[in-house]
Symmetry: C3
Subunit: 135 residues, 3 copies
């Protein structure tokens, strides 16, 4: 059993590193990842959007790994930015982590995140076929 991508030819092809839809059987294991921000394990936060984005994705990978998953298991990713002009820089960092993974994706520019110094936050849902609980 695998994730199945849904990119029907009757709508515009994905304009980036995502799929228009992804489906999975319920019989696997589902992981919901909290919104990750640019704070590293030592509590440090860069003022730079690229550095914050790298920490966000490093954090996402760590949570995936804790559930014995990788970016290939991502089903849906939601990206929150606070400055519209950060989109290009963010997308470059994101692409470097997603590799050829193409989860369903939504990008939103919001008024703010929970702390005013946070520039980017990403949450996600992932799925793995075996359904086994990690040790």
């Amino acid at each position: 059993m695998t994730l199945k991508k849904h990119n029907p030819s009757t709508i515009a092809a994905p304009a980036g590193a995502y799929s228009n839809g992804i489906s999975a059987p319920g019989s696997g294991r589902w992981l919901h990842i909290a919104g990750q921000v640019g704070i590293n394990v030592n509590g440090a936060l860069s003022e730079d959007i690229e550095q914050q984005a790298h920490v966000v994705w490093s954090n996402l990978l760590a949570v995936l790994a804790d559930a014995e998953m990788t970016v290939a298991n991502l089903v849906k990713v939601t990206h929150f930015l606070v400055r519209p002009n950060d989109m290009a820089a963010y997308a470059t960092v994101r692409a470097s982590y997603l590799l050829d993974a193409r989860p369903a994706s939504t990008v939103l520019i919001v008024q703010a995140l929970a702390k005013p110094q946070w520039l980017v936050e990403v949450d996600a849902v992932a799925w793995k076929s075996d359904g086994q609980e990690p040790a």
Copy 2:
């Protein structure tokens, strides 16, 4: 097995085309749909909120169909607008597609979507009981 709606009498009844909660057994098939915007298959985007909304919902139906689902399979729909005054026009279009489907729903007015000309974006989660992978 079917979707079960949860509208307890101890809270206000839904004030629109949604349910306060929907539950489903995990044993079916789950579809996550990326945020759909008003770009049609030819790459065209109208400046009009109603036209963008029609394309958004046409796109959602296409992704559902690709997974052998319809609006009746929608479990959760999240609607993103950028102009508060577009809500009424958007709701009219949405109702014309949802028919009697009543997914759980959240409406947000955000600062912007990924492109400044996008006025509406909608993402969704759907479920189908058979759990079979579409051909």
Copy 3:
């Protein structure tokens, strides 16, 4: 079968009442809760953020109960505020309902909710192991 929390030591520990990730087998029952706002069963809405937050969480508990679940079944909660300064007051109310539940969580400050007088909205996903449809 139970929910498994994922808080890897390689990222910062949760800075509040949440887990960095939660996973669940698909074989249980999944509940998606629509965005709940501060309108009580009589249609009344307070202008006060704390009162609105209490109604939001009372509504969430009611939908959970209708699906025979409690806050212990919450997998993901997304919190939407419109005024950044409401975060502290909201967090206090939230903590009084979450008790020791630690769902994955995202907090966003958005431009507005569907009605201008709404100050807080919360939607959620929950899971229960038995997979039985409530009576």
